[in-house]
Amino acid sequence: MSKGRVDDRRKSEVLQGTLDLMILKTLQAIGPLHGFGIARRLEQLSEEVLRLNEGTVYTSLLRLQQKRWIVAEWGASENNRKAKFYSITRSGLKQLARETDDWERISGVIGRVLRLAAEKP
């Protein structure tokens, strides 16, 4: 790890955590998909928020593979080109359920806190 990049990483770490969650959810909802397809789906859902740095999807995919939450398999894309298809594993499903719970709880808390802060003045 080179030192210069650590700070860049920091900034995107939060985003990456949510990106992982989004990819897992996407794969759970749609089934096996290749990287381009995942990016398009996220683009659709996030309404262009993810427009910059589509490559980070691949970082997520690598990380999720390493944790064995998803697996990759070679197959043919819609236009019959060779493509890698990712699908969610059983432990990936479990992780998704866990993270969804966490997310809902935390976002609930944060939402309440933020509302509280807004009411105060």
């Binding site: 790890m1 990049r5 990287g35 381009f36 990016a39 427009r51 910059l52 740095n53 589509e54 490559g55 980070t56 691949y58 970082t59 690598l62 990380r63 390493q66 080109r81 493509a83 890698k84």
Partner: protein, 890 residues
């Protein structure tokens, strides 16, 4: 070996690199495809191709960074974290040089001692014998009614060989006591060659491949054929490594012998550990040359070896030998009644005397290693205490227990690895230092431990095992740091577990040290008893040497006896010589012979029964020179020649056993029906002839001139006031002046002979004593560590007690009573263990009770004293605590 490993490593690395490169390509393709699809979309939206491409790249982001991410992640995470752990562990060691030195030093000593002893075991017990398929070589013996294994009579050997089918070959060699010896002729100084008399099958049973020439042919193995095979050393030293030696004649005892072969350099044979060493190998080998017409069944003088036919088990061969033995006992009841045949694997036979002591030493050194492990575990526990906070913080930050355990184990394994490497160096130094002091029966071990794969593997395995063993100690408490409990609380819980563990370790160390101390004490007492056995002669101020008289110049008894008498006369007149005598067999010299005899006027013995007694030709002056006391009657005089009345001197055992209180003097005995009657003229003291730990046996001494075959190789015994060096010069000068063709060898003082006979027990006692000393020191350090920890932990308590008015003596007593409790528990366990140990080593003890009260009392006292002294240091520190400082500390 190393080259092969390196190639293997390169292949693994190559494979990994290759796969990695393939994956990198795939990944790049995948990314590129993505970018192209993006660009295609832009083009479809109507963008010019170039802009579309640029826009796609921008949207995708840096592909280079992505690839770097992939590479970082691709490294096996386990390997990666292992590397991080190693780096961290190294840093921790460097930060605590005191701890590192103590742990590594302890391990190096423990592992080094183990490696050294194991390398001896490996070389002596586990190394295969230097023959092809050595497992199939067995030794065959005549088993007597009392179970002892003895040498084989020539006629029996021939019958066994001709009637057995389990063996692809059977060979015989004359036992050392009966082996030929020659004067090598044709050179300026006479030199004696030890002969090996073997049947033509002997070398083929062993599977020897000759350096030059060939084995004896069957037709050469008969009387009157003069052929010889040279040992490698003889060929190199006496014949200048002449590669054309085969077919040439050499002169042995003034007779020409044709050399037919030369043995390879590493060839060795022996059917006991002490024989199986280069020093006791024959110099020249000649055919046994049995005369089929005159085969004796009464003289037991052959060592017999045989090679099992492939597929035949020892048990099957033994069953066949049982039948053959039974037949021979029925056919020749006079000679073979109550005699059966025993087959013992050669390797087992060679190691039979040393197996027990070596296993004992290996066990002892294993205990030392356990103590060392406990010490290192204790050190790690102290450090774990200091690192509790670090661990707790890491848990709080999300480190899993597994991850922590992995890191702690990495640290211990690193310690063990460094300790093991250092231990190997220690072992090298120890074996190098030991090599010159190895007793003869362990001399096969003189080789260096490095290069023996078994030893290296052993060191690796024990290093790993110790690393895991002591590495587990800190983990026992670490488990308790769980997320549910508060940091502070968990620290205390782990601390309590650790304290219990440390106490247990200290108790175990003391117990083991007690066991070792008692073992060493018993061995030392046994050695002391052995050294204090009165051998039956006075070993001080005696020089002995073996003489070889060339047979052509001394063809008969008359000539030999004349020379001997002249030699003794000359020596007696020399200044400094008190007395001198000759004997065929020297006490503790390893050679021996016995004979049956009949006493005049007694009823004849039943068939197959006979009275045995040791047979010892000796000259006038022998008893005086060696210091065997004459109890009754007289010793030999120069006048006891072949022409004078035949006489014999017996020892007290013989008088006791065969005359039972009556006066033997004046009785007559004969050594066989044709032997002249010999009058008993004296009774002398018993001698421990076979070894200081051996029983004394009935012995009869005969004047040299009246024995069967006057030996041409007698040993001279000179009692002298001169130092050994001058005495040797004096003896050589006397002999040279008389006849320079006489060879002299095996010059040694009688004290050296005695000392050599107890080399093995002394060796194992010294080693065991060193181990127990090491154990004592380590156990003391262990209890010091425990008590020190206790004092540090309870410093506040002591401070409070002292500020409340407790005296120093009270605090001191408080700490020391704690130490005494640990020492007491350890001592009790150690004593229990020692009772078991004593039973195991009973067989190695001489004249020492396995539960010797003195040893069982002294060892715990010594240990308690040392351990209490070690505890006193921290205890006295507790009394010097300044309450204000200690209380303000937290």
């Amino acid at each position: 070996m190393i080259a092969r490993l390196r190639r293997l490593w390169a292949r693994i690395r190559g494979t990994v690199r290759h796969e990695d490169a393939e994956r990198a390509l795939e990944f790049r393709d995948e990314i590129e495809e993505h970018v192209q699809l993006l660009a295609e979309r832009y083009r479809r939206e109507g963008m010019p191709a170039e802009d579309a491409q640029r826009a796609a790249r921008r949207q995708f982001g840096s592909t280079a960074l992505l690839e770097e991410d992939r590479r970082d992640m691709q490294l096996l995470p386990a390997v990666e974290s292992l590397r991080a752990d190693l780096v961290y562990a190294l840093r921790m060691l460097r930060k605590n040089p005191g701890f590192a030195a103590a742990a590594i030093g302890t391990l190096a000593l423990g592992i080094g001692a183990n490696t050294a002893i194991f390398s001896v075991c490996s070389a002596v017990l586990f190394k295969p014998l230097p023959y092809p398929e050595p497992d199939r070589i067995v030794t065959l013996w005549e088993r007597q009614a009392d179970g002892t294994l003895g040498e084989v009579a020539p006629a029996n050997f021939v019958d066994w060989r001709d009637s057995s089918k389990s063996f692809s070959g059977m060979g015989a060699m004359r036992a050392a006591s009966f082996a030929s010896s020659f004067i090598l002729g044709g050179r300026s100084e006479a030199s004696r060659l030890t002969g090996g008399d073997v049947s033509s099958d002997f070398f083929s049973v062993l599977g020897v491949r000759f350096l030059l020439g060939r084995n004896f042919l069957p037709e050469e193995d008969r009387p009157g054929v003069q052929v010889a095979i040279l040992s490698y050393a003889t060929w190199r030293d006496r014949f200048g490594a002449d590669r054309d030696i085969t077919g040439k004649a050499i002169t042995l005892d003034d007779t020409p012998y044709t050399v037919v072969g030369v043995l390879p350099a590493g060839f060795r044979f022996g059917s006991a550990a002490a024989e199986f060493q280069p020093r006791s190998q024959p110099d020249v080998w000649i055919p046994l040359a049995l005369d089929p017409q005159h085969l004796q069944r009464n003289a037991h003088m052959f060592r017999v070896i045989a090679r099992l036919v492939p597929g035949v088990t020892l048990a099957r061969a033994q069953a066949e030998l049982g039948l053959i033995g039974g037949n021979l006992a029925r056919t020749y009841p006079d000679q073979n009644r109550d005699r059966s045949i025993a087959a013992v694997p050669l390797a087992e036979r060679i190691t039979s005397n040393v197996r027990g002591p070596l296993w004992m030493l290996l066990g002892a050194v294993g205990l030392v290693l356990l103590i060392a492990c406990a010490n290192v575990a204790n050190l790690l526990l102290s450090r774990a205490a200091a690192r509790q906070t670090e661990m707790a913080v890491r848990v709080a930050l999300g480190a899993s227990h597994r991850r922590l355990a992995q890191q702690l184990l990495t640290e211990s394994l690193l310690l063990a690895g460094i300790g093991g490497t250092a231990g190997l160096l220690v072992a090298l130094a120890v074996t190098a230092a030991l090599a010159p002091h190895l007793p003869p029966d362990l001399s096969r071990a003189a080789a260096s431990p490095v290069g023996d794969v078994r030893v290296l593997a052993f060191t690796a395995v024990i290093s790993l095992a110790t690393g895991i063993f002591f590495g587990l100690a800190p983990l026992v408490g670490a488990k308790r740091i769980s997320s549910g409990e508060s940091l502070k609380h968990s620290v205390r819980v782990a601390g309590a577990t650790h304290s219990r563990l440390r106490n247990a370790l200290a108790v175990a160390q003391i117990a083991i040290a007690i066991v070792l101390l008692i073992g060493a004490g018993l061995m030392a007492k046994s050695l002391w008893a052995l050294l204090n056995v009165s051998p039956g002669f006075r070993a001080d101020n005696i020089l002995t040497a073996r003489l070889s008289l060339p047979p052509l110049r001394y063809p008969d008894n008359k000539k030999i006896v004349a020379f001997e008498r002249e030699l003794l006369d000359t020596l007696d007149r020399r200044p400094g010589v008190q007395s001198a005598g000759l004997a065929t067999y020297l006490p503790l010299g390893g050679l021996d012979n016995d004979s049956s005899f009949l006493i005049e006027g007694r009823p004849p013995l039943p068939v197959g029964m006979y009275n045995p007694a040791e047979y010892r030709p000796a000259s006038a002056g022998y008893f005086e020179a060696i210091g065997i006391p004459v109890r009754r009657g007289r010793s030999f005089k120069p006048g006891d020649t072949a022409d004078a009345p035949w006489v014999t001197v017996i020892n007290e055992s013989m008088a006791r056993e065969y005359w039972k209180g009556q006066d033997p003097i004046g009785s007559r005995l004969q050594l066989g029906p044709k032997d002249p009657w010999r009058t008993v003229i004296g009774v002398v003291g018993d001698v421990h002839f076979d070894g200081l730990d051996g029983a004394t046996k009935p012995e009869m001494y005969l004047p040299m001139d009246q024995s069967f075959n006057t030996e041409s190789g007698p040993t001279i015994v000179v009692r002298t006031a001169l130092d050994p060096g001058s005495a040797t010069r004096e003896l050589r000068a006397t002999l040279t002046a008389m006849d320079r063709t006489i060879a002299v060898d095996r010059i040694q003082t009688m004290e050296q002979v005695v000392s050599g006979s107890v080399a093995q027990p002394r060796f194992r006692t010294v080693i065991l004593a060193a181990f127990s000393l090491l154990a004592l020191v380590m156990a003391s350090i262990g209890i010091y560590g425990v008590m020190n920890y206790l004092v540090v932990q309870r410093m506040r308590e002591f401070a409070i007690r002292m500020s409340m008015g407790a005296t120093r003596a009270e605090v001191l007593r408080l700490v020391l009573s704690r130490a005494a409790a640990l020492i007491g528990a350890g001592t009790f366990l150690g004593l229990v263990g020692s009772v078991g140990l004593a039973r195991v080593i009973m067989g190695l003890l001489f004249a020492t009770a396995p539960l010797d009260p003195l040893t069982f009392a002294a060892a715990p006292l010594l240990l308690a004293a040392v351990a209490l002294a070690a505890s006193y240091l921290p205890a006295s520190r507790a009394t010097r605590v300044d309450p204000m400082v200690a209380l303000r500390c937290e």
